[in-house]
């Protein structure tokens, strides 16, 4: 059974497996970069106990595929994999993993960074934070994939 390059689901994330899927049968790669986003124990002065992630799964997968296509257009020699976890996650667990492979390290780093910035802008996934004394839905960016200024901002951060 193959590991998909893009996935959203409740299973524990496996960086080794995703790296294998991204690099499979490619001998021209000179660099692999990986990013893992972790559940941290504090946020905005609150002591976080755990997070519950919710997704509009069909659109989340589609939007991740869009982001991968954007990155590959910006850095044509680059290949990407992204898995996002949903459901209840404990402190220290990975909520997202991204792997970028490229002939050159600069492009691998940039594509990886671009991908996480775009995920935070436009992928329909939400954190429900459970902290000491309550819970709150976190709301970040108003998702608009056609917002070119947002896309440019992510690109600039990726190339900084």
């Amino acid at each position: 059974m193959g590991v998909p390059l893009v996935a959203v689901g409740p299973g524990e994330l496996d960086l080794i497996a995703l790296t294998g899927a991204v690099t499979a049968s490619a001998s021209g790669d000179g660099a692999i970069t990986a990013f893992s986003g972790l559940v941290r124990d504090h946020n905005q002065g609150r002591r976080v106990e755990f997070l519950v992630y919710e997704a509009y799964e069909a659109l989340a997968v589609r939007t991740l595929q869009r982001i991968v296509a954007e990155a590959q257009q910006a850095w044509p020699d680059t290949r990407l994999g992204v898995h996002h976890r949903i459901g209840r996650l404990e402190i220290g667990e990975a909520s997202i993993i991204i792997v970028a492979a490229s002939a050159h390290r600069a492009n691998a780093f940039a594509a990886c960074r671009y991908t996480i910035e775009r995920v935070k802008q436009i992928v329909p996934i939400w954190k429900h934070e459970h902290f000491a004394g309550g819970d709150v839905w976190l709301e970040g960016a108003v998702a608009d994939p056609e917002d070119e200024a947002a896309r440019q901002a992510a690109y600039k951060i990726a190339c900084a």
Partner: protein, 81 residues
């Protein structure tokens, strides 16, 4: 005509359900589906300024047409990653 409305995160909590089936008069747009929903559940109205919308799991605009059987989703600002 019948449409399925999907709500997520805090919008889902406010509505008490993540999936509603509603009859709306045609021809419908995302905007007219939203108006009918807010008439039924005024507490959702504040999200009009910050939400995104989707039709059949594809991002859309409020002016997008909605057909019989479509799935219309209303999405609060996202916080993935």
């Amino acid at each position: 005509m019948r449409v399925t409305i999907r709500l997520f995160a805090r919008l889902r909590d406010l509505a008490g359900s993540g999936e509603l089936v509603r009859d709306v008069p045609g021809p419908a747009t995302v905007q007219s589906v939203w108006r009918a929903l807010v008439t039924e559940m005024p507490a959702l109205g504040d999200y009009e300024r910050t939400m995104s919308v989707a039709v059949n799991a594809d991002y859309a605009r409020m002016s997008a047409p909605v057909s019989e059987g479509d799935e219309v989703a209303f999405l609060p600002p996202v916080s993935g990653g």
